[in-house]
C-alpha cells in the first residue's frame, strides 16, 4: 500500500477523530459478536492490535486437520479458547483403508492443552486415537471442562471414562458416538458409571451406544435420577427394554432417547407399560437405538411419533409392514436413517407423510456388491416427489437410473449433500445401460447449493467434466471405481475452485491427473488417492513443487523403483511440516 494512495483516500473522508483509540477501548466487545471463523480470521489481519485482541477473544477453535498445525502453535495463539474441535484421520479410515497405527494420536495435543488452556470447556474429537491416559490428563487438569464428544475415535476404554466421570465436576455432555473401545479383559473393566459424584449432576447429554460392555444398571438409574438437566440419553444394547422403561420413568423430560436393545431379552414387559412411558415423555423429539428390535414393542412409540423430528432405525432390519404404521404418524420428521430392508415401498410411505424431511440416509443391510438390494430408482423418485425440502441424502442401492437422479435434481433444489452409492462396481443405468454421467451431471447443474458429492456406478470422464463445469460450490468430493482417464481428475481439479476435500479410490487416475492440481492443492485441506495409477515419481514431483504440502505414501511394500505404482497417497497442507510420529509404513516425500 503506497503511502500516497493512503493519504489521498484519507484526505477525502478524514477518519473519525480518535477512532483508533476509541475503537481499541471497545474492540474486544465488538469481537465478541464475531463468531464465524471466517470473520474472525479477517479481523485478525486488520492490524497488530486487532490480531492480538482477536487471539485473546477467540473462544471457539476449529482445526480441520490436526496435522496442519502443531498443538503448541495453535494453543499459544489462542490461549483463552473454550471450545476445540479437532479432526484426525481421513474419512476413508472408516472403510479400513488407513492401516492401524497410521497416526492421529491425541497425546501431543493433550500435553499442550492441559497446562496451557485452563479455560477449555468443550472438546470434540473425530477419528482420533485417544488413550485412557489422555482422558485422565484432561479430566484432572481442566477445572471447567464440561463437554466431551468423541466421534469415530479409538484407543480408550472404561478406565478413561471413569477418569472423566470422577474428575469433571461440571460435566454436562459425554457423547460417545461410533467409537471403537480397546479390548479390556473382564478384570480390567471399570464400572465408570458409578464414578460420577454422588451429588446431583449437571449432566445434559449421555450417549454410550457404542460401548459394547454392560454398564452397572443400578448406578445408571441412580445417575439419571439425580441428573435433573438430562435431556439426551442414548444407552447401549445391553440395556434391556424393562430397564429402559425404568430410566424413562426417571427422566420424563428427555428430548433424545437411544433405546438400547428394545427387544425381548432380559425379562417380560407389557407393551402397554412401555407405551405409557412414552406417553409421559412429552418432550421427546429424537429416537435411535433399536439394536435388537422386537417388533411387538414398536407400537409403544406411537404417543411420540407426531412430535418426532429425528428417527434412526439403521440398526434394525425393520420391514415395510413394521415401518408403515409408525412413519404415517411422523408428520414432523426431518431426519430419517434406515436400512434398505424397508424397500422402495417403505420409502414411498416416508415420501407421503414426511413433507418436512431434510436428511435421509438409507444404509444397506448387506453391504456387498452382489446382494439383492431392496431399494432402487423407484424409492429415490418417490422421495424426491414427496420431500421437496430435502437437503442431504445418502443412498445405498444396487441399481439406479439416470432418470431417477435427474428427477431428484429437479425436485429437490435445496440439496446440499448428495451421496449416491451404487454398490457393485461400474454399474450402468439399470434400463438404458448407459453410464451414470447424465444423472450426476444434472445434480451439479440443478442443485446450486451443493457442497458435498459422492459419485458411483459406471462413470466416464464426462461425469467429471460436468462436475468441473457446474460444481462451483462443491467442497467435498468422493469418488470410487469411476472415470476413464486422467482427464476426469483434471476436470475436477481445474474446475472446482471451492474443492477442499477430495477422496478417490480404485479409479484410473495417474500422475498427469495429479499434477493438473498443482495450482490448487494449497487451497485444499487434503487429497486421498488409493489404488489409482499414481507412481512415486509423480508424487515426488508434487512434493518438490509444493514444499508446504506433506505428501504421505502409505503402503506395506517398500518401494525403491520410481515408476512402481503406489498404493495410497494422502497429502495435506501443513504449517508444521512432516510429522514426527509417522510409522515405518508411511513415507513422507
Amino acid at each position: 500500500m503506497a503511502e500516497d494512495e493512503e493519504e489521498e483516500g484519507r484526505g477525502d473522508t478524514p477518519p473519525p477523530p480518535f477512532s483508533d483509540q476509541v475503537l481499541e477501548n471497545v474492540l474486544e466487545n465488538v469481537l465478541q459478536f464475531l463468531s464465524c471463523r471466517r470473520d474472525r480470521n479477517s479481523a485478525s489481519l486488520v492490524c497488530r492490535s486487532w490480531y492480538a485482541a482477536e487471539s485473546q477473544t477467540r473462544h471457539d477453535l476449529f482445526v480441520g486437520n490436526m496435522y496442519a498445525v502443531s498443538p503448541y502453535r495453535a494453543i499459544s495463539r489462542f490461549r483463552r479458547v473454550r471450545a476445540l474441535v479437532l479432526k484426525g484421520k481421513p474419512r476413508f479410515a472408516d472403510f479400513g483403508l488407513v492401516p492401524f497405527g497410521w497416526g492421529a494420536g491425541f497425546a501431543s495435543w493433550a500435553n499442550a492443552i492441559s497446562p496451557n488452556c485452563p479455560s477449555l470447556e468443550r472438546l470434540t474429537l473425530k477419528r482420533i486415537t485417544v488413550s485412557d491416559a489422555d482422558l485422565s490428563l484432561l479430566a484432572r487438569s481442566l477445572p471447567f471442562f464440561r463437554d466431551l464428544t468423541l466421534l469415530c475415535c479409538d484407543g480408550f476404554g472404561t478406565l478413561g471414562l471413569a477418569a472423566i466421570a470422577e474428575n469433571c465436576k461440571r460435566l454436562r455432555v459425554l457423547d460417545l458416538i461410533d467409537n471403537v473401545l480397546i479390548d479390556e479383559e473382564e478384570e480390567e473393566l471399570v464400572d465408570w458409571v458409578s464414578r460420577f459424584p454422588a451429588s446431583p449432576t449437571c449432566l445434559e447429554s449421555l450417549a454410550f451406544e457404542c460401548i459394547d460392555v454392560e454398564v452397572n444398571f443400578v448406578a445408571l438409574e441412580a445417575l439419571v435420577a439425580r441428573s435433573p438437566s438430562l435431556r439426551r440419553l442414548r444407552v447401549n444394547q445391553h440395556v434391556s427394554i424393562g430397564q429402559l422403561r425404568r430410566l424413562m420413568a426417571r427422566a420424563p423430560q428427555l428430548t433424545h432417547l437411544g433405546t438400547g436393545a428394545f427387544g425381548s431379552g432380559g425379562g417380560v414387559l407389557v407393551v402397554g407399560d412401555l407405551e405409557s412411558a412414552f406417553a409421559s415423555s412429552r418432550s421427546m423429539v429424537c429416537l435411535s437405538g433399536f439394536r435388537e428390535l422386537d417388533p411387538e414393542y414398536l407400537p409403544a412409540i406411537y404417543p411420540v411419533c407426531g412430535n418426532l423430528t429425528s428417527i434412526n432405525f439403521s440398526y434394525t432390519d425393520i420391514s415395510v409392514e413394521q415401518l408403515k404404521p409408525i412413519i404415517l404418524q411422523c408428520h414432523n420428521l426431518q431426519t430419517f436413517w434406515v436400512l434398505d430392508t424397508v424397500r422402495d415401498e417403505g420409502l414411498q410411505a416416508v415420501a407421503e407423510t414426511c413433507k418436512d424431511l431434510r436428511e435421509l440416509r438409507v444404509f444397506p443391510l448387506h453391504p456387498t456388491e452382489d446382494s439383492e438390494g431392496s431399494v432402487s430408482d423407484f424409492g429415490l423418485i418417490a422421495i424426491s416427489k414427496g420431500c421437496r425440502k430435502l437437503e442431504s441424502i445418502l443412498y445405498f442401492c444396487q441399481r439406479m437410473t439416470n432418470a431417477a437422479v435427474v428427477t431428484m435434481s429437479k425436485n429437490c433444489p435445496e440439496l446440499v449433500v448428495f451421496r449416491l452409492c451404487i454398490m457393485g462396481r461400474h454399474r450402468p443405468d439399470r434400463i438404458t445401460r448407459e453410464a451414470m454421467d447424465e444423472g450426476f451431471g444434472a445434480i451439479v447443474m440443478n442443485c446450486k447449493k451443493l457442497t458435498r458429492l459422492a459419485v458411483s456406478g459406471l462413470l466416464t470422464d464426462k461425469a467429471f467434466e460436468y462436475i468441473g463445469k457446474y460444481g462451483k460450490s462443491v467442497r467435498t468430493l468422493s469418488v470410487a471405481f469411476a472415470g476413464n482417464s486422467d482427464l476426469g481428475l483434471r476436470y475436477v481439479l481445474e474446475g472446482c475452485p471451492k474443492l477442499q476435500k477430495l477422496e478417490i479410490r480404485d479409479s484410473p487416475f495417474g500422475d498427469a491427473g495429479l499434477l493438473s492440481g498443482i495450482h490448487h492443492f494449497y487451497n485444499m485441506r487434503f487429497l486421498w488417492m488409493s489404488s489409482c495409477r499414481l507412481t512415486r515419481s509423480g508424487c515426488m514431483e508434487v512434493a518438490r513443487r509444493l514444499p508446504g504440502l506433506v505428501v504421505e505414501v502409505i503402503g506395506d511394500r517398500y518401494l525403491d523403483e520410481e515408476n512402481q505404482a503406489i498404493e495410497k497417497l494422502y497429502m495435506y497442507r501443513s504449517l508444521a511440516g512432516p510429522r514426527e510420529d509417522a510409522p515405518p509404513f508411511v513415507k513422507i516425500l
Binding site: 471497545v26 486488520v46 492490524c47 482445526v63 498445525v69
Partner: protein, 201 residues
C-alpha cells in the same frame, strides 16, 4: 409555576409523570442550570432523606452541560448507578469523557429501553436508531457506553459495528475504521496462510 421556556415540558405535581425533559435539537441551547434552579423545589427532592434515593439524576457532560433524567433511566449505567448509591445523587454526576451530543443519544437509548413493554422486541428500533448515526457518533457512543459501563448500550452498539464489518474484506475493514495496516507484506501473507491452513476450514 410558570414556565416561559417552551423548549422544556414539565408536568406539575405528579412524580410519576415527570418525564425526562425533552431535549431541543441543539443541546447547547438548553439552559438546564436555570431550569434546575426553578424546578428543584418541586420536582427534585434536593434534601432527600437517607436512604431514600432521589427521583431524578443530573448528569454533566464534558462541556458541563447538564441533563436531568429519571433514576430508572440512569441506572442503565453502572457509573451513574454507583454514584447515586454512594449518596452523590444530589450533585451532578460528572461524565467528563462524554460530550453532550453523545450523552443525549445515550439518554435517548436508555429511555426507549426503560419504556419498553414487557417482552417488547426493540431490535428494529435499535437498528434504526444506530443506523441514523454517523460513523463518528456511532464509535463515540460505543466508547461512551464502555466508559459509563452501560452493558445494554455497549452490547447494542458493538453488535451493530460487528454486523457492519462481517463479510467485509480486510482492506474494507481498515478503510472503514481509518486504520493503517502495520504488518509487512510478508507478515500479512504468512498470517493469511496460517489462518487458512490451520484455522479456517
Amino acid at each position: 409555576m410558570d414556565m416561559e421556556d417552551d423548549t422544556v415540558q414539565v408536568r406539575e405535581n405528579s412524580a410519576e409523570d415527570t418525564e425526562m425533559l425533552e431535549l431541543p435539537k441543539d443541546p447547547a441551547e438548553v439552559k438546564a442550570s436555570e431550569f434546575i434552579k426553578g424546578e428543584s423545589s418541586k420536582e427534585i427532592p434536593v434534601e432527600s432523606q437517607q436512604p431514600e434515593l432521589p427521583e431524578n439524576v443530573v448528569l454533566q457532560s464534558l462541556e458541563k452541560e447538564e441533563f436531568i433524567i429519571k433514576l430508572a433511566v440512569g441506572q442503565q449505567s453502572e457509573i451513574i448507578k454507583n454514584a447515586i448509591l454512594d449518596g452523590r445523587g444530589e450533585n451532578p454526576v460528572p461524565l467528563l469523557n462524554v460530550s453532550a451530543p453523545i450523552l443525549a443519544k445515550a439518554i435517548e437509548f436508555w429511555k426507549r429501553h426503560i419504556d419498553a413493554a414487557e417482552g417488547e422486541d426493540l431490535t428494529e428500533w435499535d437498528k434504526a436508531f444506530l443506523g441514523d448515526l454517523s460513523q463518528e457518533v456511532l464509535f463515540e457512543l460505543a466508547a461512551a457506553a464502555n466508559y459509563m459501563e452501560s452493558k445494554s448500550l455497549l452490547d447494542c452498539t458493538c453488535k451493530f459495528i460487528a454486523d457492519i464489518i462481517k463479510e467485509m474484506k480486510v482492506e474494507e475493514v481498515r478503510d472503514y475504521f481509518g486504520i493503517e495496516c502495520d504488518f509487512t507484506e510478508e507478515e500479512e501473507r504468512k498470517m493469511r496462510e496460517d489462518n487458512a491452513w490451520a484455522f479456517e476450514q
